[in-house]
């Protein structure tokens, strides 16, 4: 039975610090084989998770959703009203997206998503999160110095554009709906999806116009 006792866990952490190997790769090896021997994990299930997140679930899902919202106003309305329901139309609702909210960038508003207390992320729609999203630097600075963070990512905003930072403190998760770039009027939904980057759906990228890559 779990102790639900902070001091007990703190003590165990300190013991583990000295008992486990000092290299993370060796810690994995030591614990994985012991847990498998003790039948606390099924190695086939560990492989299943790895396969799903290496091969199937990633930001291409989010990009498909964004492109659909750009070409289909009725879908966009559904996405903004209930994103979990809307991504369900693609079969993408699932891991950590039971309470998903889409937040829309406009000419005057830029959205940025963070989790200051851990590293909550909408897995089933964006896959595993990038390292920078989980970094101390991003978690500390995104709420206090969002414009400084954005400038580091190459996003320069004028003062009249409002930055809205969303701190994922509950089980609700956020997906930024970037603005559809100009000059892609005739583009197909599939071609538009290729313009949408993972960072643009977290909020650390803003301009998705095809010309930007060359600039």
């Amino acid at each position: 039975m779990a102790s639900f006792d902070s001091k007990t866990i703190s003590h165990i952490h300190h013991e583990l610090h000295s008992l486990l190997p000092s290299e993370p790769a060796l810690r994995t090896r030591a614990l994985e084989s012991l847990l498998a021997e003790k039948k606390l994990i099924d190695p086939a299930t560990v492989d299943a998770w790895i396969e799903m997140y290496r091969d199937e679930i990633g930001p291409k899902r989010g990009a498909a959703v964004v492109a659909r919202a750009w070409v289909d106003p009725a879908f966009k309305a559904r996405l903004l009203a209930d994103a979990t329901q809307a991504i369900g139309e693609f079969g993408f609702a699932g891991h950590a997206t039971g309470h998903l909210q889409a937040v829309e960038n406009t000419a005057d508003v830029h959205n940025l998503v963070v989790c200051t207390l851990c590293s909550c992320y909408p897995f089933s729609i964006l896959g595993l999160s990038p390292s920078w999203y989980k970094s101390n630097e991003y978690r500390a600075r995104a709420v206090r110095d969002p414009r400084g963070v954005l400038a580091e990512f190459g996003v320069e905003l004028d003062e009249g554009t409002q930055v809205r930072v969303w701190d994922s403190t509950s089980e609700r998760r956020y997906l930024v709906l970037p603005e559809r770039p100009k000059g892609v009027k005739e583009w197909s939904e599939a071609a538009l999806a290729k313009l949408v980057t993972r960072n643009s759906m977290i909020g650390t990228e803003r301009d998705l116009s095809p010309a930007r890559a060359k600039a």
Partner: protein, 218 residues
């Protein structure tokens, strides 16, 4: 708890590294740690909030310096030791002394495949009506308590406006103690200018999801 995990607004952190890095996995052990944690056996009363709290309780230096999925793995190990499914002595010797009977057996591959397609809901019915209305000004409690909480330090004592009401959600603080209790959940909108002295005159806002007991009428 007032731990180092509560990073929002802490100063002195430098530039963000790895911005152009598109790879989410850099070594095999990282994704193995992810897979092990996702599929491991657990105690009957396990909750995600208890897991988050156990991660917060790591040594502060380890918390700030060890890789992310590595922290998932060591936190899992701490929980399994706490449950009595694994002993420190077994870890020391690298050999098993007994086979435990966990409250929740390890996940099967089929269950793993089903779980990623399950948009799990944390909604819980709350009979009491919501205490706060949309647009109302509220102030966050000053004290976060020494257990798990999702009230970040940087909003404590600060006033914001109720931006949205989401109905009853599992209260993280109680869930981290093994109690399933719902409470009204709100998104509170704070003017950056009310949070940070250097943001004076700024239009920017920070939105934080906060449970009703974190808030008082302002």
């Amino acid at each position: 708890m007032d731990g180092v995990h509560d990073l929002g607004g802490r100063e002195g952190f430098g530039p963000i590294a790895g911005k152009a890095d598109d790879k989410v996995i850099h070594a095999e052990w990282e994704i193995r740690d992810f897979g092990i944690k996702q599929s491991s056996a657990a105690g009957q009363a396990w909750t995600i909030d208890w897991f988050r709290h156990c991660r917060e309780l790591a040594d502060p230096v380890d918390y700030l310096t060890r890789p992310y999925y590595d922290q998932w793995l060591t936190t899992l190990a701490a929980q399994l030791v706490d449950e009595g499914y694994l002993t420190l002595d077994e870890i020391k010797r690298g050999a098993l002394a007994f086979t435990p009977r966990p409250g929740r057996p390890p996940q099967t591959p089929e269950a793993a495949r089903a779980s990623v397609k399950d948009p799990r809901s944390f909604v819980v019915n709350v009979n009491a009506p919501p205490r706060f209305a949309l647009g109302q000004t509220v102030r966050c409690r000053l004290d976060g308590g020494s257990g798990h909480t999702r009230l970040p330090g940087y909003v404590r004592g600060r006033a914001g406006a109720i931006h949205a009401h989401h109905g009853g959600h599992v209260l993280a603080d109680a869930s981290a103690r093994g109690e399933k209790r719902g409470e009204h959940l709100y998104t509170v909108s704070f003017a950056s200018a009310d949070l940070w002295p250097e943001a004076k005159g700024s239009l920017d806002r920070v939105f934080v999801d906060l449970w009703e007991s974190y808030l008082e009428p302002a």
